[in-house]
Assembly symmetry: C2
Homo-oligomer: 106 residues x 2
Amino acid sequence: MDIQLKRGILEVCVLKALEKQDSYGYQIIKDLSPFVLLSESTLYPILRRIEAAGCVTVYSVEHNGRLRKYYHLTPAGQARILGFLNDWNEVVKAYDFIRGNDDEKT
Amino acid sequence: MDIQLKRGILEVCVLKALEKQDSYGYQIIKDLSPFVLLSESTLYPILRRIEAAGCVTVYSVEHNGRLRKYYHLTPAGQARILGFLNDWNEVVKAYDFIRGNDDEKT
DNA sequence: TGAACATACTATACCATGCGCAGTATTGCG
DNA sequence: CGCAATACTGCGCATGGTATAGTATGTTCA
């Protein structure tokens, strides 16, 4: 996908990935891979950002001698997802303009 | 609309605005305003960018003693629009993941 | 008359974000 | 032992939307 089009979408994808259960970096990348590709250097800054924004809380769990950082979605994170879905209407408006409505139905 | 979500979309909106007839800066902003809002400081860099990319050609017309720069869509610009519509499938995939498919039909 | 506003374009600088690349450390497979 | 996978961190870059400001002309209205 074009990099620019991912802007603002990836962050919400990550939040959504945490909706059903808490998860950690590597797992999130794998879970999202069927829908959207993102690298570690993209994900980890996102995780820090949404933590700073209060959209997730973090706790560490030892796993094979290493610490795994689990992320847990907060109500603020939920609200962020809903806000995105709301904003999307405007994106669709722009998209519809670009697509044109020459053919009424597809 | 969230700034980040506009990324990559605005440029194609401008190209699309030039599809039916040549136009110039101020007019483009007015034509797009029902669909997407953009300021002059956003539009003019876009115009220079798409010109440099060969998506449009430019010619000046005198109007009330001032020069108006008209932009004309090239085949490359057309192709850019089609490329965007193609990329959009992946965006929809990410969006569908975020929206979830709890309700099968809307 | 002149202040305000619309038209029309230009230039500079800022900031957010996705990504490449590199580094650290452990487990497990061949 | 080398290499891949796991798991996380840090640096620096390019892109692109925006604020702010400046230039210049025509129209409107008090």
